[in-house]
């Protein structure tokens, strides 16, 4: 009972604004199923919608948990998708390399567990333990966060930069340019964008595309 009120006290002004932005975003996103019907979500330069979701460790985690960070590497990912699995070790490596520099990874599973039982909260907990995820792995049970961001596939990265008032979306897309072979990567999109942000420069490649599994929307 002590800690929530202390937390609230310290983050109230910015988190209120983030909550409002998130509420606004969730109102426009009404249960469509095909990609063409889904809301567009955010673009680079937009304010990142806030959220608070359950983590595999039972705690509630959201952007407001990162007010000391320089930014957040937000990754929509999941257990079942082979492309997410191909990238799992690279996501862990990103967190280990850039967490200490102020850009930790925050992973979110947006899949409906009726459509994809392998992505249930219990299975998420198992996976996080097996792979010793060094970052939170949140469950977007009502899929509103995925819709607010416009996430389409797993894995799908949204690199956020913290400003005094908001988190701003700086990059959307793939982690790097070679899903099949981590050793044959030519361009590391997320790392390059972080390096530019750390240098106070604008991000040159703001969006990229990648093959991935569709997010399993509720039917």
């Amino acid at each position: 009972m002590r800690s929530p009120s202390r937390l609230r006290g310290s983050i109230a002004p910015s988190s209120m604004r983030m909550m409002l932005a998130f509420l606004a975003a969730s109102v426009i996103s009404m249960v469509p199923v095909t990609a063409a019907d889904l809301p567009d979500g955010v673009k680079p330069g937009d304010i990142a919608p806030n959220f608070i979701l359950n983590n595999v460790d039972g705690k509630r985690v959201g952007l407001a948990s990162y007010l000391d960070a320089k930014g957040v590497i937000l990754v929509f990912t999941c257990n079942h998708c082979p492309y997410s699995v191909k990238y799992e070790d690279r996501i862990i490596a990103l967190h280990k390399a850039f967490g200490p520099k102020g850009f930790p990874v925050l992973a979110i599973n947006p899949n409906d567990t009726v459509v994809s039982p392998e992505d249930s909260f219990a299975k998420m907990q198992e996976r996080a333990q097996e792979k010793s995820f060094p970052f939170p792995y949140l469950f977007d049970a009502d899929q509103n966060v995925a819709k607010a961001y416009g996430a389409r596939r797993t894995p799908h990265v949204f690199l956020l930069k913290r400003t005094p008032k908001h988190f701003i979306v700086e990059y959307i897309g793939a982690i790097d340019d070679n899903p099949n072979d981590a050793n044959a990567v030519d361009e590391k999109f997320v790392e390059k964008a972080i390096a530019e942000l750390v240098d106070g420069k604008p991000v040159t490649t703001q969006t990229t595309k990648a093959i991935g599994c569709t997010i399993k929307w509720k039917k």
């Binding site: 990609a35 063409a36 082979p82 340019d177 099949n180 595309k209 569709t214 997010i215």
Partner: protein, 176 residues
């Protein structure tokens, strides 16, 4: 690009095996495809559509690892069997890792024995070619492109058979 030599020799060997198997079974026919899976670049695939004149192409992007894709493939097979006499060609373009041609993709295709031609996309950098299929595509699969005479319709979704047939009919209605 560096997969090409390996894939070509693998294909040769596979092709020979297939011909051999077919002859053993006494089912040789001139139209029987001797190549199970053809590796092609996206330019080769798109070039074929562009040169196809009045042929209506239904190009499905899928992968062996993608459950909803695999569940949907029989619909494309059925659609092709039903529509091939109306100038419809179905192409099943796999976005599996080109290195997995012999280990995964070819055995899968052999087991399923679908009628439409299967192409393994011989590309390694998705961010370079996804937009060339369609700028609205996020890269999630399954996804399907309908193409005829430069006219195109792209759908990033999975279909039931009825939905697929309906999309094709609607698309063909728009043809001159």
């Amino acid at each position: 690009m560096r997969f090409v030599p390996r894939i070509n020799s693998a294909l040769l060997i596979m092709g020979c095996l297939v011909v051999h198997t077919i002859s053993l079974a006494g089912q040789v026919s001139a139209s029987a495809s001797t190549v199970l899976v053809t590796p092609q670049t996206l330019d080769e695939v798109m070039g074929r559509l562009a040169a196809g004149g009045d042929t209506t192409y239904v190009v499905n992007f899928w992968a062996t690892w993608c459950k909803p894709c695999v569940a949907e493939l029989p619909h494309f097979d059925k659609l092709y069997r039903e529509q091939r006499d109306s100038g419809v060609v179905v192409l099943l373009v796999s976005v599996d890792d080109p290195k997995e041609l012999t280990k995964k993709v070819a055995p899968f295709v052999r087991r399923k024995a679908y009628l439409p031609q299967v192409v393994l996309l011989n590309e390694s950098k998705p961010h370079e070619w996804i937009d060339r299929v369609d700028p609205t595509w996020s890269g999630a699969i399954p996804a399907t492109l309908f193409f005829r005479n430069g006219r195109r319709l792209f759908r990033e979704t999975e279909f039931t058979f009825e939905e697929l047939r309906h999309e094709l009919k609607e698309f063909m209605k728009g043809s001159p």
